[in-house]
């Protein structure tokens, strides 16, 4: 999970995703997702859809036996998704700007 955060971190600065800099909006988007997926995870544990290999989790359990790792997962993955989404957005905007600058002036007159 730390690797996911590290890999996507440059998107914030280099590609101008500006997700962490809008912390309030990030929090508002994140909270319902963390809540819904925590409930889903707990349902999955209680109904025996899945379990965790004790060798690879810390063993720290939160409410209803949900491993700490799952909470981290539900915070990290949505953040990475948003960073990707916003980075794609700013790259696309950059490409559009370049194209406009590169287009011959006459075309703008025609239009």
């Amino acid at each position: 999970m730390a690797a996911c955060l590290l890999i996507t971190l440059p998107l914030e600065f280099v590609l101008g995703a500006r997700v962490y800099r809008r912390a309030r909006a990030l929090l508002v988007a994140l909270l319902p997702v963390v809540l819904i997926f925590s409930i889903w995870d707990i349902v999955g544990i209680v109904r025996d859809h899945w379990s965790y290999n004790p060798r690879y989790v810390t063993g720290i359990r939160l409410v209803f036996e949900m491993p700490l790792e799952e909470l981290v997962f539900f915070v990290v993955i949505p953040i990475c998704g948003l960073l990707t989404y916003e980075a794609v957005g700013s790259v696309m905007a950059g490409v559009r700007k370049l194209r406009r600058r590169g287009a011959p002036a006459t075309r703008r007159v025609d239009a």
């Binding site: 319902p32 859809h49 949505p78 948003l82 989404y85 957005g89």
Partner: protein, 113 residues
Amino acid sequence: MPEYTVLTVVSVLVVVALELFWWRTGIFRTAQYWLAMAIVFAFQILVDGWLTKLSNPIVIYNPDEMLGVRAPWDIPIEDFGFGFTMVTLTILLWRRRLARDAARAAETAKADR
């Protein structure tokens, strides 16, 4: 029907319905969303593939509660619905919040004038 399969299908349908009939942010019509999702899915295969590999799994799935289709590698096919819902819902909530902030800012700007 296996329960994990049902929950996944329901979650995808709910998110799509939320967007199409209620929130209408329009993201499904943008290249930005689909490009981002393609990138997310590529990375999901790497991370999820590592979490679910049958040779040495971190997450162990009950075969009775899923379809049993595992690809690529040993990723349960349902995981892709799970991931779709998680990331799409986040982007939708994010877009809604930004739109609200922008509307408020415009409102204040109007009041200032």
